[in-house]
Amino acid sequence: MKKSLTFNGVGKTYGRTVALRPTDLEIKAGEFLTLLGPSGSGKTTLLMALAGFVQPSSGSILLDGQDITNIPPEARNFGVVFQGYALFPHLTVWENVYFPLRARNLGRAKAREAVDDALALMELKPYADRMPAALSGGQQQRVALARALVFKPELLLLDEPLSALDKSLRKTLQTELKELHRKVGTTFVYVTHDQEEALSMSDRIAILRAGEIQQIASADALYWRPETAFVAGFLGRSNFVPMSGATVDAGAVTALTVLGPIKAQLPRDGVDVPRDACIAVRPERIAVSRQEPAHQNRVQGRVVSLTFFGTHVELDVEARGTLLNVHVPAVQAAQEPGLAEGAEVWLGWDADVSLVLPQETAAA
């Protein structure tokens, strides 16, 4: 049942618009892969190429080594949950879920058990005879899921399935979806532009930008080891300090910046310092103190603004004309006397949290 998928240089252009640059991608059997990126970055294009609705302009798609690039959507045996669910308004909930089995020439009687099981899985039994219009948004979403899963597809594709729902319902359904993934074990490919959603649900996340996959990795790897400035800024927040040059000594980088020389690290072994690079530091990795700290990197600055967020305090510190955003845990901030707007402070962080990242990649 579980199959792996391979994209070999799959690209799509519409006239002169490049929707998807030639992309290589490996989707592992049984994983929960999320495509995350800003609007227009090519997420839907990639997903629809997978579903068979977008004919790639280049490259090929392999399912367990078999080329499926030219197979029509109805023959691919993938479940798809569309944005807005696309439930058939003229059919009852039961008939909607029966639809894919009917398309596979299964009679009503033979399909009954499978349909009822799918409805039970999504806790939809009491609504079997309702029309979709008489369901709440969350219930409609579950019908769409039941319908996409009833024929035990090899792959489930979901295009922003939760974006039409309100925040609290979205949270509940995120948990349910993750639970469902564990239960059915099918490979999920999930599109969203909500980074929180991506971080909380996925085994791996592919970050797309302007038709190109920037990086693909697990949530925490993306967060702590971003490979481009775009990824570092898109997932969570980062301070970016432009650099004018660098010296490399056995993997240890010393970057020349407006803040002075900064000891930093390359995101991976074996990569060179990019031509157009900057230093990225997460706000929560910078320590604030009144005395000079012992960190490898130290700069002195003045607190420009201070905002209390309950769990943490957010500071904007001006150092040598550069504004740095710093998050201090609230308990720690309370122990630091004189931490207020206008105060002179020291900022300190180590080499392993300052990453040397390419600023703009080929995509533009």
Binding site: F53, E74, V80, F82, L87, P89, H90, A103, M131, F151
Partner: protein, 292 residues
Amino acid sequence: MTAFAPKTASGAGRTDRFYLLMIVLPCAFLALLYFLPVLNVLVLSVTEPQPGIQNYQMLAESGALHRILLNTLRVSLSTTALTLLLGYMFSLGINSMAPRTRTVALFVVLASFWISALIRAYAWVAILQPNGLINQLLMGIGLIDTPLILVRNELGVIIGMVHYMLPYAILPIYANMAGIDRSLLRASRALGANRWRTFWWVFFPQSLPGLAGSGILVMIFSLGFYITPAILGGGRVVMIAEYISIQISETLRWGVATMLATVLVMVVVALTIWMSRYLKVGGGLASKGGKS
């Protein structure tokens, strides 16, 4: 209630009366010039030539009348069926067009409203007659050597009526189709149904309200057609409206004429009531489609 904020109680009363007047006037106009004559027709049908229901008894007894009614029914049903078929195909076509070509196509449909039934009927005679355009063309390319009889018979009447009714059928059918959510067709294919099944399982059922509304509309119009069958039928295909006209202006049998008119009105009213139920169902379906 009213659009203008009332300043005083009497002011509110005045605007209310003003709106009431706007409704009463057209109603009075309709009552005087439309319903009264219709009522008069109803009365005449049971008083001419003498009081009683003898006119309605003819409905059951007269062979001539049966033939007329059967003609009317047969021609109307054929017209409706053909119009729906062609209208549905045409609507499918415009529904899948790019927006700009679609505008042109809809304009062509609407343009045919500008030409009167009379002119269209004579145009069809010119095209269909034994030495008309079609026969000349077919003989010219050697497909036939004696002219086909295309006019002054039922075929000619149906051709003319279908042509006249097509725009009336296309507009509701297309309006309904345009409201069908296209992502449903994608969903259907993704779920394993091929194009053919997607059409019959997803698209066609949702286009039924438009088809039903159009069908009843065309049927109602067809039952009362006068000019087109009179000209294209050449006196050989007499439908109810032409027959009524003959009774009134030539044989002067007002009782029979008014009886037939009354029957026609009742059938049309019954169909209209039926249609209004369908349109409600259609509206319900459309709103359901829009939501999901």
